[in-house]
Symmetry: C2
Subunit: 221 residues, 2 copies
Amino acid sequence: MHERGRYDRAAVFAVLDAGLLCHVAYTLDGQPYCTPTIHWREDDRLYWHGSSASRMLRQLKAGTPACLTVSHLDGLVLARCGFNHSANYRSVMCFGTARIIDDPEEKAHALLGVVNRFYPGRSDDLRTTSAQESKATTVIGMRIEDASAKVRAKGVADDEEDYDHPVWAGVISVRTVIGADQPCPRLLPGIARPDGLSAYREGERLDEALLQTQRLYENES
Amino acid sequence: MHERGRYDRAAVFAVLDAGLLCHVAYTLDGQPYCTPTIHWREDDRLYWHGSSASRMLRQLKAGTPACLTVSHLDGLVLARCGFNHSANYRSVMCFGTARIIDDPEEKAHALLGVVNRFYPGRSDDLRTTSAQESKATTVIGMRIEDASAKVRAKGVADDEEDYDHPVWAGVISVRTVIGADQPCPRLLPGIARPDGLSAYREGERLDEALLQTQRLYENES
């Protein structure tokens, strides 16, 4: 199904970086879990985090095979027969060994990374993370050992003999967009929306804003 | 983490039915896979499908523990410290045993179900599924034995002493919306957009359209 260690990095990173939300599969005591979470990426390393109180996450200590997937739905494809119904989408499955990040320096760096995923430099302006907060957070890291990207981005693909069948067919396009800001009602007077958020504009696509912030992050680090 | 067999069906179904796309975790030869796919639901049974040529799906024959998750991202939550950064979201993890549907009657019914997920009655107007197409499609079913729904739907929740920290904080809302129709360029003359698609209107939320079609489906069956 996939050759270990060989994948198209540009295609894989483009799908990963366009999403804030991923799903991670791991198996604990024979039960697979499909956990939604926020991921971030540095080169070929993926990170995500959770509560240190989670019994599940503690079991990752020794490292466990995992699969982290990011998917974007782009359209509903209505064809002239059931078999050719489909969806337009971009997805990538990343395989590797998920491990709890114990090294204090790597963990501190990773905890800045999740905040700077929103936009580069965000961490500079925040109240500093306390030792207690760091302890309460489990950071998980995984080097991408292998990945496979899949994209469907086209119109209806019916069998040639079906185009005469009298039914509506087409694609209903779908996109995830940014809505209105909801500023915290307790903002201090005179605090403006940060320039770093300029990629996030009402009505614009979230995937494009996230790609833009990731590119800025890579240029600054 | 979760009590087998006890879950809030209304809350779980509301999240499942609002999504077209799910992620399924299963373990094959010790490797977890997190596969994005289209799901549909009848009462407490979930269905999804794939190609019969898939080596992976064939291994589900005997039944295997699985976890099917649906998630909706609703906002980015930017707080005054890293620890309180978060996302607004709705998600549900469903646990059960995934099995290939072999019974011809159940399989035929399920294959109508995926098409009628787009809108109820769609299957009536299509070219009938051939025996060959049915054979080429593997349908997987799973009864929800247990499920857990999680929702975050609120503003920034900072520590009381942090509200004096001079940084912008707030929620950047996000929604998945329906775009313009892309009718197949080979539509026969006089074929109108079906009434069943009326829930899908440009600019409207996809989750609401999907909830509406699911309710119609349940009322008709």
